[in-house]
Amino acid sequence: MVTETRAIDAPHRGLVQTFVRFREIGLIAFIVVLAFFVTLRNPVFLTFNNLRDIVLNISILVIVALAQAMVIITRGIDLSVGSTIGLSAMMVSFMIAAMPELSPWLMLPLGMLIGAILGSFNGTLIALGRVPPIIATLGTLSIYRGLIFLYSGTKSTINAYEMPPAFRQIAKGAPLGIPNLILFAVAVAVIVFLFLRYTRVGRDIYTVGSNPDAARFAGIPLQRTLFLVYLISGLLCGLAGVLWASRFESAQNNTALGFELQTVAAAVVGGVSTLGGSGRVIGVVLGAFLLGVINNALTLIQISPFWQQAAQGLLILLAVIVDATISGRLQRMIGGRS
């Protein structure tokens, strides 16, 4: 099995695999150290309830960050994820508010369908229209956000009391003891992992990203793969939109505004290369978890709100540096041994 790292030649395969296995160590180390210091400042950090809150808060981020990671692996970027989430959340909320007798579970495929349509429009622009991804999705970021305003009109908000309780249970329910929201994130992570590792299209995504020219010569349908990856991204955003509306019990014009930056941050902190061709599911999940820990920590240690945003950026940078340093050391260590 070929790993995600590009340009692997046979003699070094064992070495590279060892390195890959270690690659998230730096990130884990940073999270542990951060958790240690936050707990010193406020012991509440390590309580079960607080950790559950962190995991709940990042569940939607994990889903969308995985979508973003797949796009970035193909050397692209999807800036329209926030708007796609918002539009899907708004349309689904209008639907369920107008027809509360519908099964709320029906909203999941509906949201995914809306997301997939929006995503395939991105895909069409990029794969068929050859528009650079950053420009295409920057455009649809505005178009989809504009559609939210047009669609919701003067009503502008769907409030909690208009949503049937069963709809809110999609994200909040916990029939298996674990909140559904977390189960959704875990399920998506597992499916994406299997998809990237064991399916033809999944492998193609890496190949297209690591070397588009070679991929074309190898007979990999480049345009189709690109189209699919944006479609999948939209589909996952559609799912995230339903979960968002259910969890936050409302749909507003500014739902998920600016969320795209968080997803890019989670993916990149999680080791997805912006040059394309490499990135792992476990890394993205850890990246999202790190962002969740940072957000939670900043509220718990009572840092001045004026400093919070700057501190957030600083910690993200620090995490990337620590990760790169530790990974580099490990690589040299392994290299020295063999």
């Binding site: 406020n42 509440v44 309580t47 309830n49 607080n50 809150d53 808060n57 349309m91 209008f94 639907m95 508010a97 107008a98 027809m99 809306i114 349509i117 929006l118 395939s120 429009f121 069409t124 622009l125 068929l128 229209g129 528009v131 455009g139 649809t140 178009i143 504009g146 559609l147 047009l150 669609y151 009109g153 003067t154 009503k155 908000t157 409030n159 909690a160 009391y161 909040k172 936050f248 019990e249 409302s250 507003q252 500014n254 739902t255 505004l257 957000n295 939670n296 509220t299 718990l300 009572q302 709100p305 004026f306």
Partner: protein, 362 residues
């Protein structure tokens, strides 16, 4: 019903995006605009009756001009205005533009002046841009009362102020004290740390807390949710985690109050932690009923519309001139006096709770 139609409309608009590529984007944008415009037009048609017969003696005709049509907040104000119209035996028409836009509003006002209506009650989309048109109305002998949002001085006869900051601060501390049972820890969840109105209210609330009757209330922290749903929710969670014995969260912002109530509900702390502050009934209905936020405040837009029409009628019928110190009667709201700065204060904010919330829809 129209919601379903809208859904299918947008769905069918999205499908062509799949088939056509590139150039279809502007087209989609345009046709969606039309869809939205037709959605608004029934409101326009129903509400905008010509006020042409107004000049011909008899009952006076006033026009209530909101920032835009189809906004539940202004629709509620219109209900109050119609109530006042019945009491005074005058006609009040409700006319506005589809979008909250100063240019469109100026065009509408010019046409109303040309129709020679008896008075205008305006919620201005721009304080300065509307001064010339307000002035030309006054010059034409049409009194201009502004409400909700003012035209700068020179372009209006009087302005109805919905609330003063001190009252807004006082009512929130009073509600918090009632919910906390007179003592305990309270926290404030605000919008952004730079919002001037928020900071003014917070400062006044801190003043209010110095009063002896609130001596046992302890304000532990002020946090900022940036008027984002997600961030406000996380900040409210953080408050409950940091202060396990927290009793009340005051959120003087409509986004923050709903997010806080939801966080309390999700944490299973209904009855332990209470949320209060400023919100709208539609947004808070669920949480008032669940007990997460038993009471909150805001001015009542129906009273605002009601008072605007009473003030307008008092001026238009010559009972008062609209000068500072003038005093007039506003039906069920009682007697009002114009302050030195040419404004009329509506009064203390309305408190919403489970007893009255279902009679409001905005």
């Amino acid at each position: 019903m129209s919601t379903k139609l809208k859904l299918f409309a947008v769905m069918s608009l999205l499908l062509p995006m799949l088939i056509a590529c590139g150039g279809s984007a502007p087209a989609t944008d345009g046709s969606a605009t039309n869809g939205s415009a037709t959605d608004v037009s029934p409101t326009t048609a129903a509400d905008s009756q010509p006020a042409s017969d107004s000049a011909s003696g008899g009952a006076k005709t006033y026009v209530l001009v909101p920032k835009n049509l189809g906004n539940p907040y202004f629709d509620t104000a219109n209900k109050g205005a119609q109530e006042a119209a019945q009491e005074l035996s005058v006609t009040v028409t409700y006319q506005g533009s589809a979008a909250a836009d100063a240019t469109q509003q100026i065009q509408l006002l010019n046409s109303l002046i040309a129709q020679n209506v008896n008075g205008l009650a305006i919620s201005a989309n721009d304080a300065d841009a509307l001064v010339p048109v307000g002035k030309s109305a006054i010059d034409a002998g049409i009194p201009v009362v502004t409400w909700d949002s003012s035209i700068a001085e020179g372009g209006r006869t009087v302005h109805i102020n919905q609330a003063v900051s001190a009252d807004i601060a006082a009512i929130q501390i009073k509600m918090a004290s009632e919910l906390a049972g007179g003592s305990g820890k309270i926290a404030i969840l605000s919008a952004t740390s730079t919002a001037p109105n928020q900071n003014e209210w917070i400062a006044l609330m801190q003043e209010e807390l110095k009063k002896p009757e609130y001596a046992n209330l302890e304000l532990v922290e002020t946090v900022y949710g940036d008027d984002q749903d997600e961030k406000s929710y996380t900040e409210a969670q953080g408050l409950m985690t940091k202060y396990p014995d927290l009793k009340v969260i005051i959120a003087p912002t409509t986004v923050g109050i709903a997010a806080s109530a939801r966080a309390v509900q999700d944490a299973g702390k209904i009855g332990t932690v209470f949320v209060t502050g400023l919100g709208t009934p539609n947004q808070m209905r669920e949480y008032v009923k669940s007990g997460a936020s038993p009471q909150f405040a805001l001015w009542n837009p129906a009273d605002l519309g009601y008072l605007a029409i009473h003030a307008l009628h008092a001026i238009a019928s010559g009972q008062i001139e609209g000068k500072p110190g003038d005093s007039f009667s506003a039906g069920r709201l009682g007697q009002y006096t114009i302050a030195d700065d040419g404004t009329i204060l509506l009064g203390p904010p309305t408190v919403f709770n489970s007893d009255n919330i279902d009679s409001f829809d905005f």
